[in-house]
């Protein structure tokens, strides 16, 4: 590589310096807010950038880094994070971090053993600063700005008489009267004014009362003590739980090991859902690919005739279903399959006076989905079959014909095996695609019809991926992200297995026929 001009180099270093300064600034900001995941991503990116620009050996990194940032940030990191979630109990009710829960519980108070009440008068200045004059049951007066309590001597010069009671006259502060107090209540409710180990808390519109902290957290023993009752709580399963099983809400995220995975297989209810959804996913993908390929191959055989007129016109017209965006086709078919007004039922009703419950009966809904998917994918199958058919040498057919093989025989012994060499990997790919075809299932039936007695939101037409989605985002009794992530990892292993089989199969077929 050529040496660089000093100007070029210094501009580069200055720019890098500015950028690094920005990174440090952002990094400190993230560190103070304990966003360590983002911080590490930022540092990783910045380190890469510096190496790429400063080191000659890392020259290729300059080309790789821009794409790498997105790949790592939006794919690799989510995958790792997903794996992490699958080992936690992240779900509705356990969304907070433990430290957040401890902080939240630290803000809860209980009435003090022998409580005293205080009446108060609030004052505000034009900067909206608060001043409270508190009076206890014995008539002692106290002054507070919210943080602490200051006893006032009976002869304090600031006392004045207001409307027949004692008031304060502090420069700039006006008493809050009438309805104004209601606007101030949220601010007063947040107050906990410390005094002699107790706290003054708002306990009515007109009064404060002494209170104690409800809980004390002991980080060393990882124990939470209820100061009112003396019961101690230890974390069990993402909730502070007492010895007799009473748990404090809300729960927090915690590591649960393999429990989500074990649940899928051992919990009778969820296991049943999993098995049903899994079987339908396999049946759906298999039948879709089978019918679609059969149809596509038949059409390809019809069209694979060089003397056929209008061949290109036909091919283009047959491509239309493939070219339509899936989400549009899905809605159109949903309209056609509509039970009351859809075109199919109107025709069937006119001709035979029958109504087919296309999308509302489990079996019919499954059949409808396969019909739609075959329509969507047969052009692809036709295209790849046409391509593969053209690559089969004519001599092979000649030879078969000489040996006395009929058209049928030629198809099964010459055409199909040879087609499979090039098409098997593509068919496996199509299978994997159908296996995860969330969009179609979700937009046509959204997994419905519902299955009675299912433990999770698993409908009759839900495939694994749409089931995962519904557990995550549409759970009736809350969203269970941990379980959903565990299932998504299982799906990944299935897809990886299918792909591996695809690779091996194509290699195997090539050995046999290639």
């Amino acid at each position: 590589m050529r040496s660089q001009s000093p100007l070029h180099l210094s501009v580069k270093i200055i720019l890098l310096g500015v950028l690094d300064a920005a990174v440090v600034w952002a990094g400190v900001g993230l560190a103070t807010q304990a966003a360590y995941a983002l911080l590490s991503l930022l540092l990783l990116g910045a380190t890469g950038l510096n190496i790429a620009i400063l080191s000659r050996r890392a020259y290729p990194l300059r080309y790789l880094l821009p794409g790498l940032v997105f790949l790592v940030g939006m794919v690799v990191y989510p995958i790792l994070y997903n794996i992490y979630i699958s080992f936690t109990n992240l779900q509705t009710g356990n969304l907070l971090q433990k430290s957040q829960v401890v902080q939240l519980l630290d803000g809860r108070y209980a009435p003090a053993p022998d409580e005293t009440t205080y009446t108060y008068q609030a004052y505000l200045n034009d900067k909206n600063d608060l001043l409270l004059l508190l009076t206890d049951e014995q008539g002692n007066h106290f002054l507070s700005r919210g943080e602490s309590l200051e006893a006032l001597a009976p002869d304090d010069p600031r006392f004045v008489t207001q409307d027949g009671s004692v008031g304060l006259d502090v420069a700039g502060y006006q008493p809050v009267t009438g309805a104004g107090i209601y606007q101030l209540l949220p601010r007063l409710e947040a107050l906990a004014i410390p005094t002699d180990g107790l706290y003054l808390r708002l306990s009515g519109v007109r009064q404060f009362r002494t209170a104690i902290k409800q809980y004390r957290y002991d980080p060393k023993a990882d124990r939470l003590v209820d100061l009112e009752t003396g019961v101690s709580y230890t974390p069990v399963d993402g909730r502070f739980t007492s010895a007799d099983g009473k748990a404090i809400e809300p729960g927090f995220q915690t590591w649960v090991g393999l429990r989500n995975f074990v649940t899928i297989f051992s919990s009778a209810a969820i296991g049943k859902d999993f098995l049903r959804v899994f079987l339908w996913t396999v049946v759906w993908a298999t039948l879709s690919v089978f019918f679609s390929f059969s149809l596509g191959l038949s059409f390809a055989l019809l069209l694979n005739d060089r003397t056929l007129r209008l061949r290109l016109v036909y091919r283009t017209l047959l491509l239309v279903p493939y070219v339509m965006p899936v989400f549009i086709s899905a809605f159109v078919w949903r309209g056609m399959f509509n039970e009351n007004f859809g075109i199919f039922n109107r025709i069937l009703g006119d001709l035979f006076n029958v109504q087919v419950p296309w999308l509302t009966n489990a079996m019919w809904a499954r059949a409808s989905l396969i019909i739609i998917n075959v329509w969507l994918t047969f052009p692809y199958m036709m295209l790849i079959s046409l391509g593969a058919l053209q690559s089969i040498p004519d001599q092979l057919y000649e030879a078969a014909r000489v040996d006395g093989a009929g058209a049928w025989r030629r198809f099964w012994t010459v055409t199909l095996p040879l087609l499979m060499i090039s098409l098997a990997p593509l068919l496996i790919g199509a299978f994997a695609f159908a296996f995860n075809n969330f969009t179609l299932i979700y937009l046509v039936t959204a997994g419905r019809p519902a299955v009675l007695g299912a433990a999770t939101p698993a409908g009759a037409t839900d495939i694994l991926i749409s089931w995962t989605y519904r557990i995550s985002f549409q759970g009736g009794s809350g969203n269970n992200y941990g379980l959903a992530s565990a299932i998504s990892i299982l799906i990944f292993f299935m897809i990886a297995t299918i792909s591996a089989i695809g690779f091996r199969m194509s290699r195997h077929l090539e050995e046999v026929y290639g």
């Binding site: 590589m1 900001g29 966003a35 995941a37 983002l38 890392a58 020259y59 990194l61 080309y63 790789l64 794409g67 997105f70 790949l71 790592v72 940030g73 939006m74 990191y77 995958i79 994070y81 997903n82 979630i85 019809l302 069209l303 056929l308 209008l310 036909y314 017209l317 047959l318 239309v320 279903p321 070219v323 339509m324 965006p325 989400f327 809605f331 159109v332 078919w333 309209g335 056609m336 509509n338 009351n340 007004f341 859809g342 075109i343 329509w375 052009p379 995860n436 969330f438 969009t439 937009l443 991926i465 989605y469 995550s472 992200y481 959903a484 992530s485 998504s488 799906i491 990944f492 990886a496």
Partner: protein
């Protein structure tokens, strides 16, 4: 005369022999096109209700198209523009990023190259949408610090799409670069070009077909993507066409059938307008990319 007669007869025989085949093909075409014709008919039918639609409308009206662009509850035009914007930016970004990384994998020999290629192959096997829960949390976290990149932003969604596009398209790009002889850049560098200049001025023009392929593949993918967009976008004005139409069809689908049909036709047509001029590149580009030197 007699000759012409036999020629005519032969032609007639051929048509007769071929007729069943053409008939069969037309039946198949009817199957392929029926839903499209039906939805087009719905979009110009005077009734907007699914139950009263006739395949051949009594008279043609463009009212549904007008409704579509004037209904304030369903900002269809905004959805269409959002989709074109997001898909366009994602596709251009993918082309740029993958051209860079594909070139690096094809031309440079660096430590960890084989391992990176292998990991890339593995990563692209993992469907990005499977990590949707994690992506959702990550984007929410980013949004806390940089609101322009968080949940319910187009930039955030584009970042997610770009990440998902890297694996497969980098492979495609690398395969194509492998077919271009090295001698071309080497001679450019002898003439005094820097490696980056050689890449930009010599290589990029040579690989234009695969750039077109990647652009269109990514455009199609983002245009029809539903799950990520539906989780990450919220406000009615922010939606893409796929999420918007879903929103449109959620309630009383049957009674808003006409405007929906018009929306489907426009959505499909704008897609075709971009797809058709570029489709010839797909076949040629894909086959060339797979051929090794």
């Amino acid at each position: 005369m007699a000759q012409r007669k036999t020629a005519l007869r032969r032609w007639g025989r051929m048509v007769l022999r071929r007729f069943p085949k053409h008939l069969l093909i037309w039946i198949i075409i009817a199957y392929a096109l029926f839903p499209v014709l039906w939805i087009f008919s719905a979009s110009v039918n005077p009734t907007s209700s699914l139950s009263q639609q006739k395949l051949i409308p009594d008279h043609i009206t463009w009212d549904h198209y007008r409704t579509l662009f004037t209904d304030p509850n369903y900002p269809f035009a905004t959805w269409l523009l959002n989709t074109l914007k997001i898909s366009g930016i994602t596709a251009i970004g993918t082309v740029v990023l993958c051209a860079l990384s594909g070139y690096a994998f094809s031309r440079f020999r660096f430590t960890g190259r084989r391992l990176s290629l292998l990991s890339l192959l593995l990563i692209q096997m993992f469907p990005q949408m499977l990590a949707i829960v994690a992506i959702f949390f990550i984007l929410r976290m980013i949004g806390d610090y940089a609101p322009a990149l968080g949940i319910n932003t187009h930039l955030g969604l584009i970042m997610v799409y770009l990440g998902g596009a890297m694996g497969f398209n980098t492979y495609l790009m690398k395969g194509y670069f492998d077919t271009v002889p090295r001698s071309l850049e080497e001679s450019a560098m002898v003439d005094g070009a820097t490696p980056f200049q050689a890449f930009l001025r010599i290589m990029i023009p040579l690989v234009r077909p695969i750039l077109a392929v990647i652009f269109i593949i990514q455009f199609i993918t983002s245009y029809s993507e539903f799950i990520l967009a539906s989780v990450l976008l919220r406000g009615s004005d922010q939606l893409t066409l796929s999420v918007g139409l879903r929103f449109f069809t959620e309630q009383a689908f049957e009674r808003r059938w006409g405007p929906f049909a018009a929306g489907a036709i426009i959505g499909g047509a704008s897609f075709l307008l971009i797809f058709l001029p570029l489709q010839r590149f797909i076949v040629s580009g894909l086959t060339q990319g797979s051929v090794k030197e």
